[in-house]
């Protein structure tokens, strides 16, 4: 393990920001620290960087306990959510700042800065001030500045939060590639599940100061270990009683049932439903345009279920009666999650 946290606790007054947090990160990995606001992810990042001190527990970087090592000696690059670019310095001076502090010879600084400027696609902007750059460009400068002193560990706090949707998408891929190319161990904080799934090699999901689950994106998505994780991904419909839907294995008392839109198949009455026998009838109560498709809200057995439909499928209108087949649900009891599959999927299908 390159970075290791052992039983970290941290409180701000009465607020417990970190509750017995432990995890390890392998060298060269890109880790997404995912959680809703207030879940304590930024605090973890700031403690690794040395901007906050844990109340108890050890932070280990490269086999050394760094609790008492000052932030500036930890060899960490940090990209702030607001970028925190020095607004009275040019792009060049911003990137060169760390090297100048380390008293690197002038010609080496120049070489390194120009190399980074080229790498981050900022050529020609060296003499601009941060206020003369677009959001995406500022993000690249912040990234280049953090990388300039060759950090062993790169920390990014909500790196894409302040960028508009289209550029954000491009930057995600760019950042993932860039970090893979440089091989620097990186941790980024995000509250955006799509971002974490798209970018991270591994996701650490935080909730209320503690860690709920650690795993690769596919794992945490398809096998949530806690009720929180199960409900955090997608735009799930949540309701109380799974007995309302037929053909799911009984698991006893449950607190809630989570249905993700991607696990719901909607068919018009005129279309063929593969699992006709176990489909339920519902009434469409809302149709919303979602850019990539339609989002349908369907009232089935007294519960509103969200489902998606592509544009190339026949349109559905509000008030229409449709068949709804649910492939999979997550039933949660306490902190346990039971992924339940529709029994029909296991039976031989008879197509009439």
């Amino acid at each position: 393990m390159y970075v290791e946290l052992k039983n970290i606790n941290k409180s701000f007054g009465n607020f417990k920001a970190s509750n017995d947090v432990s995890f390890g990160i392998e060298k060269g990995k890109l880790i997404g620290l995912l959680g809703p606001s207030g879940s304590g992810k930024t605090t973890i990042l700031r403690m690794i960087a040395g901007l906050e001190t844990p109340d108890s527990g050890d932070i280990i970087v490269n086999d050394k306990v760094v609790n008492n090592v000052p932030a500036s000696k930890r060899g960490i690059g940090f990209v702030f959510q607001s970028y925190a670019l020095f607004r009275y310095m040019t792009v060049f001076d911003n990137i060169a700042f760390g090297l100048k502090i380390q008293k690197v010879p002038e010609n080496e600084i120049k070489e390194r800065v120009l190399e980074l400027v080229k790498l981050t696609g900022l050529s020609g902007l060296e003499n601009r001030y941060p206020s003369q750059l677009s959001g995406g460009q500022r993000q690249r400068v912040a990234f280049a500045r953090a990388l300039a002193p060759n950090p062993k560990l790169l920390l990014l706090d909500e790196p894409f939060a302040a960028i508009d949707a289209k550029v954000r998408h491009e930057l995600r891929h760019w950042l993932k590639e860039m970090i893979a190319k440089l091989g620097v161990t990186s941790i980024f904080v995000t509250h955006d599940q799509d971002e974490a799934i798209e970018v991270a090699d591994e996701i650490i999901i935080m909730n209320k100061g503690g860690i709920d689950q650690i795993g690769n994106p596919l794992e945490v998505y398809s096998n949530p270990k806690t009720a929180f994780v199960a409900s955090f991904f997608g735009q799930p419909s949540i309701f109380k009683d799974y007995n309302k839907f037929r053909r799911f294995d009984p698991v006893g008392e449950v607190d809630q049932v989570i249905v993700r839109p991607e696990f719901v198949k909607v068919t018009k009455k005129t279309e063929t439903q593969k699992y006709q026998n176990s489909a339920e009838e519902g009434v469409v109560t809302d149709v919303a345009f979602r850019g990539t498709g339609l989002e349908l809200t369907i009232l089935v057995n007294g519960e509103n279920i969200t489902a998606r439909r592509r544009f190339d499928q026949a349109p559905i209108e509000v008030g229409e009666k449709v068949d709804v087949f649910i492939y999979r649900i997550f039933a949660t009891a306490g902190d346990k999650v039971y992924p339940l599959e529709n029994q029909s999927l296991r039976e031989p299908v008879v197509v009439i």
Binding site: L51, A71, S72, A84, F97, I101, S131, R145, P149
Partner: protein, 276 residues
């Protein structure tokens, strides 16, 4: 043109006229009077009053007190603004409130406070006498009084600027290993530069014109503890009107220079912050 825009036009011109008439009556007229009175008996009398030994001494003392006040208040203002915006500590509220005290307290009272603290009745007086330190009715008293009345000016300009920008840049610089002084010089100061200079100008202007507190502490010893405003008062009380106005005109000129400086700083600061 409809009714509404006509009436708002009228309002506009009425307000503008009121402002101009007010300024003309309250500011320009007295200023012009000062200049006219000063030159009433011609250039020679004016010159004589200005190059008079006592006047020259008063000018020098005023400059001395101003320089001390500005230097000390710069140090104090920067530390106060810095500590109030960057740290959380007990007594922060009290400090914030106390900074404003000199503006709210009458200067005469400020003078009296110092007189009672350092004068003959004070328990401190014997100690000061043993150490051969004279404060009351001496130059240190004047400097002290000037510092007191001007000390909020610089910190008051800096606090809003520092508050509005947060600590991110400083944190980023510290993470890269920059020391406190480097951070201040390279990251913080460029940002507060214009507000700081503006504060210095205001502090200077106020220090030069200070009358009340200084009047109590100075003792009006001509050629020793007389600042320009006090000198004007003495001359005036002695019915030497022309010299009084002549000396007053020196203060006016100094004030105008400060005003020009202020406008330049404001203009430059605004342009710079627009670009960046």
């Amino acid at each position: 043109m409809n009714k509404e825009t006509t009436s708002s036009k009228v309002t506009k011109w009425v307000l503008i006229s009121i402002s101009f008439i007010f300024i003309a009556l309250m500011l320009l007229l007295p200023l012009i009077t000062v200049i006219i009175e000063a030159f009433k008996q011609g250039w020679d009398v004016y010159k004589q009053a200005v190059v008079d030994d006592y006047t020259v001494h008063a000018v020098l003392l005023t400059v001395e007190a101003t320089v001390f006040a500005v230097i000390i208040n710069t140090v104090f203002g920067l530390s106060a603004a810095w500590s109030l915006t960057k740290f959380n500590f007990k007594g922060k509220k009290i400090l914030t409130t106390l900074i404003d005290l000199p503006v709210t307290v009458s200067p005469i009272i400020a003078g009296l406070i110092f007189l009672l603290t350092f004068g003959r009745q004070s328990p401190l007086f014997p100690i000061l006498q043993d150490l051969d330190i004279k404060i009351v009715f001496a130059v240190p008293g004047i400097v002290l009084a000037t510092i007191f009345v001007t000390f909020p000016f610089i910190s008051r300009e800096l606090i809003p600027v520092l508050e509005s920008r947060g600590n991110d840049e400083e944190e980023a610089a510290a993470l890269m290993g920059a020391g406190g002084f480097t951070i201040f010089r390279k990251v913080t100061f460029p940002h507060i530069k214009w507000a700081f200079l503006y504060g210095v100008v205001l502090c200077t202007a106020r220090a030069m014109g200070e009358f009340g507190a200084v009047s109590v502490l100075s003792g009006h010893l001509r050629g020793k503890t007389n600042t320009l405003p006090l000198h004007v008062e003495i001359l005036f009380n002695e019915f030497q009107y022309v010299p009084a106005f002549a000396v007053a005109s020196i203060l006016v000129v100094m004030a105008i220079i400060i005003l020009i400086l202020r406008s330049v700083i404001e203009y430059t600061g605004m342009r710079k912050s627009n670009v960046r």
